[in-house]
């Protein structure tokens, strides 16, 4: 069941974002010429780089964010990739998954400390800000469900519950994170095009 819900969840989110992008375009025009598409990709790539005008703490936050983003992509690919193919996470993929998990949660903690101030609610971008706080809260069950299972605290049934909790919370986290990223990218693109 989890496999099918994951497939449906990712399909719905990606289709929704694609539709949203079609209905509410942002950025360069015309939209579907070769030059425009290349320009968009390059622009997206440049979003990953810290701007020269930023101060060192902000640059550091951006670098940590980029590292966290990369870790998230790895975790997403290794965690849900095998599942979508109908197999389970094991072998080298499991090792890669477990290697990037602490990197990701470490980055999340640093971004939370350095960037939380930006996400205080006001009248602007409420959706993006809400997404940030939900993701921050969700990162706790995603992490703790796995870390706690490594201690001799939970028996077989408890281990099963922890694994299920990890999978479901990770699925919700991943779906919200994808939407959040989409909104962040739109925000940045809109900012750049306004300049």
């Amino acid at each position: 069941m989890f496999q099918w819900i994951s497939i449906i969840g990712f399909s719905v989110v990606f289709a929704g974002l694609f539709l949203h992008h079609l209905i509410f375009p942002c950025g360069y025009k015309p939209r579907f010429t070769a030059g425009s598409l290349i320009r968009k990709k390059v622009h997206l790539l440049t979003l990953l780089f810290p701007e020269q005008k930023l101060n060192w703490p902000t640059k550091f936050r951006k670098l940590v964010f980029v590292l966290g983003l990369f870790s998230f992509c790895v975790l997403l690919a290794t965690g849900f990739g095998p599942l979508l193919c109908g197999c389970r996470l094991h072998g080298y993929l499991l090792m890669i998954h477990a290697t990037f998990a602490p990197v990701f949660i470490g980055c999340a903690a640093i971004v939370a400390i350095l960037g939380a101030g930006q996400y205080c609610f006001n009248k602007k971008d409420a959706g993006t800000k809400a997404g940030f706080w939900v993701l921050l809260a969700l990162s706790l069950p995603v992490t703790l469900t796995m870390v706690l299972s490594m201690f001799p605290l939970f028996g077989t049934h408890g281990q099963e519950i922890l694994l299920d909790a990890h999978r479901w919370s990770a699925l919700i986290f991943a779906l919200i994170a994808i939407i959040e990223l989409y909104m962040l990218i739109r925000m940045e693109v809109l900012k750049d095009t306004e300049r």
């Binding site: 080298y92 998990a101 999340a108 903690a109 939380a116 921050l136 796995m146 939970f154 077989t156």
Partner: protein, 618 residues
């Protein structure tokens, strides 16, 4: 009135008797529900059905087929696991003869010969990796001779000999009937050592009487000539029943138990770890179940058909008599777990993937894995438990354990194994083992006939292999020697070449006992019990036992090679456990910081909301 009652009784008898006869119900079959053991004060009968009386002149040995068979379906019992070594049919619980699956490979019989450096797994059950006695041209009579020291009768003991010489010997020795007393006699006089001695003398028909110590048997059918006449019985075995056994009605009391004691099982099912010196044998513990008060037969049960449950889920009706059946909760409506007081294991901190990849026995049975698998002896293969001046010294086969390898069910578990070694004739792709006598006949001098019978095998040089292979390669057949996982052949120039060969793979069978207590099971000290870069579980070695003199010393194989796991992967995976503490620290620290941020901004949010609510509108 009396006449009426008599007629009614007669009518009932007429009606009831055919029903009982129809289902072949004997007194001893099934159960009427009463759990007490019936007292077996019974008459003794010889194999011709004549009752034995204490003052008979030259009394005959009693026959279990006739004596026990008067109340118990001998044929049904004889089709059970212990007495059925080759038939593909057995009686089910409903008394129907059905096809049986030989199931998971078990401990085979082994043909060993130190002179020819041979150890071949034998079984009539067609288990993969074994050869049937027929394939080695071993007659049932010869096979019985090989295995009779630890044999409960029936099966090969009751096959009619076909060769004239063996047929004559069988007439003299009698059949080796199912020896019910070997297990069910609760009398401490029951002596399987005596049974083995009588079997060695080929006094097969005297075994039940002699081993139960109900009679003294003297004489030896091996000494008798082919012209011996059992009817006249001059110089043949003589026996004297203990006179105090018989009561005034010439019946005898058998102290029969439906639940044989562990001692009875141990005679054939004992194992010895040779890494523990004989003087220190007393330091070895028994199975934790036995120490908790259970008996072997509490789990290994059977019905009339004696298809004893082996603790395998897929076999018979014994699902609940497996480890899981007693120890784990059952989702069925009627709870089955906790049988016999079995505690439910907690398995705290053990990821559930372990239960998919490992058998319960992997962590709980056998000895704690060591860097090298130890040599073991088993009662049946090495004829242990025989005492007296003729105690044999049987070093072969060289059995290694515990070897943690992947079994037929796809799970890793502890096994005992040995490496087959034999000479074979290859024609096209088919390879047939050559019986040791034939090898000796053709190349005894090359192999060195000086070796004593009871000696272990001596090293085999390349020149010797070449010499034997040359003599075995005749008439379109090519000689091959199998040993230590390799096959050896002669090339066109007459040099010995060797290669890894599927036919030379080790023969392994599961090691379910002794079960260790939970506190001594793998994982009790968490991951490091197995997940280190040098853990015996994965990287322990087992000797690739061979008599062939290797230039580079003893060849070994890592257990991981037998587990079907990529070595590099497992090494890296185990190495990654070094970083686990860091992972935990980073994760907890990060979560702590995130909680602080959430709390800090959460408090600010609550304050902001509170302020917004209390501010008066301008």
């Amino acid at each position: 009135m009396k006449t009426f009652r008599l007629l009614t009784a007669l009518l009932l008898a007429v009606c009831v008797y055919p029903v009982r006869a129809e289902v072949g119900q004997l007194v001893g079959q099934g159960s009427d529900g009463n759990r007490s053991t019936p007292v077996h004060q019974i008459e003794l009968y010889d194999e011709e059905g004549n009752q034995i009386r204490p003052f008979d002149k030259d009394p005959k040995p009693f026959s279990t087929r006739i004596t026990c068979g008067r109340c118990h379906e001998y044929g049904t019992i004889a089709s059970g696991w212990h007495f059925n070594g080759y038939e593909s049919e057995a009686f089910n619980d409903e008394g129907e003869l059905v096809k049986i699956d030989w199931g998971r490979p078990g401990q085979p019989w082994v043909l060993t010969d130190s002179k020819t450096r041979t150890q071949i797994p034998l079984s009539g059950r067609k288990w993969p990796g074994t050869f049937s006695p027929d394939e080695l041209r071993i007659s049932s009579w010869k096979f019985l001779e090989m295995i009779s020291s630890h044999f409960p009768g029936g099966s090969y003991g009751e096959i009619k000999a076909e060769q004239p010489y063996e047929e004559r010997r069988q007439e003299i020795s009698g059949l080796y009937e199912v020896n019910c007393l070997a297990c069910h006699n609760a009398d401490p006089h029951q002596d399987q050592n005596m049974a083995a001695l009588q079997a060695a003398r080929q006094n097969y028909r005297w075994i039940p009487a002699a081993s139960s110590r109900m009679a003294d048997v003297s004489g030896d059918t091996l000494d008798l000539t082919m012209f011996y006449d059992p009817e006249v019985n001059i110089n043949g075995p003589t026996m004297t029943y203990r006179k105090d056994l018989f009561d005034s009605e010439d019946t005898v009391f058998f102290d029969i138990t439906g639940k044989p004691s562990n001692e009875r099982c141990y005679f054939c099912h004992s194992n010895q770890n040779l890494s523990v010196s004989e003087d220190r044998e007393w330091t070895r513990d028994e199975d934790v179940h036995l120490k908790s008060g259970l008996k072997c037969v509490d789990c290994h049960r059977n019905g009339d058909n004696h298809m004893i449950t082996r603790g395998i889920e897929t076999e018979g009706d014994g699902k609940t008599l497996t480890c899981e059946g007693c120890h784990l909760p059952d989702p069925a409506d009627t709870p089955q777990s906790g049988r016999l007081g079995a505690p439910e294991p907690k398995h705290r901190g053990i990821p559930t993937i372990h239960f998919e990849k490992l058998t319960c026995t992997a962590c709980h049975s056998g000895t704690w894995p060591a860097e090298e698998a130890a040599r073991w002896k088993t009662a049946r293969m090495h004829e242990t438990g025989l005492h007296g001046p003729h105690t044999p010294y049987v070093p072969q086969p060289h059995v290694y354990a515990p070897v943690l390898m992947k079994g037929a069910g796809g799970k890793i578990g502890p096994y005992k194994l040995f490496w087959p070694a034999y000479w074979a004739a290859q024609r096209d792709d088919a390879m047939t083992p050559i019986p040791p006598e034939q090898v000796l006949e053709k190349a005894g001098d090359v192999l060195g006939a000086y070796i004593e019978k009871t000696d272990d095998w001596k090293p085999l040089t390349e020149q010797q292999i070449a010499g034997v292979l040359e003599r075995l390669s005749t008439g379109g057949e090519r000689g091959v020697y199998i040993a230590g996982g390799k096959s050896y052949r002669l090339d066109a120039e007459g040099n010995v070449t060797s290669c890894d060969d599927e036919a030379a793979q080790p023969y392994a069978w599961p090691m379910a006992h002794d079960v260790r207590p939970a506190e001594q099971s793998l994982g009790v000290r968490m991951c490091k019990d197995c997940h280190t870069t040098d853990s015996p579980f994965f990287f322990g070695t087992v000797e690739m036992d061979t008599p062939v003199k290797a230039d580079n010393g003893v060849r070994t194989m890592e257990m991981i090679q037998l587990q079907g796991i990529d070595r590099l992967y497992m090494w890296v995976f185990n190495a990654s456990f070094v970083f686990r503490p860091f992972l935990k620290i980073v994760a907890f620290a990060s979560c702590g910081l995130i909680v602080l941020v959430l709390l800090a901004y959460g408090v600010r949010a609550v304050a902001a909301v509170s302020n917004a609510c209390t501010e008066e509108p301008e």
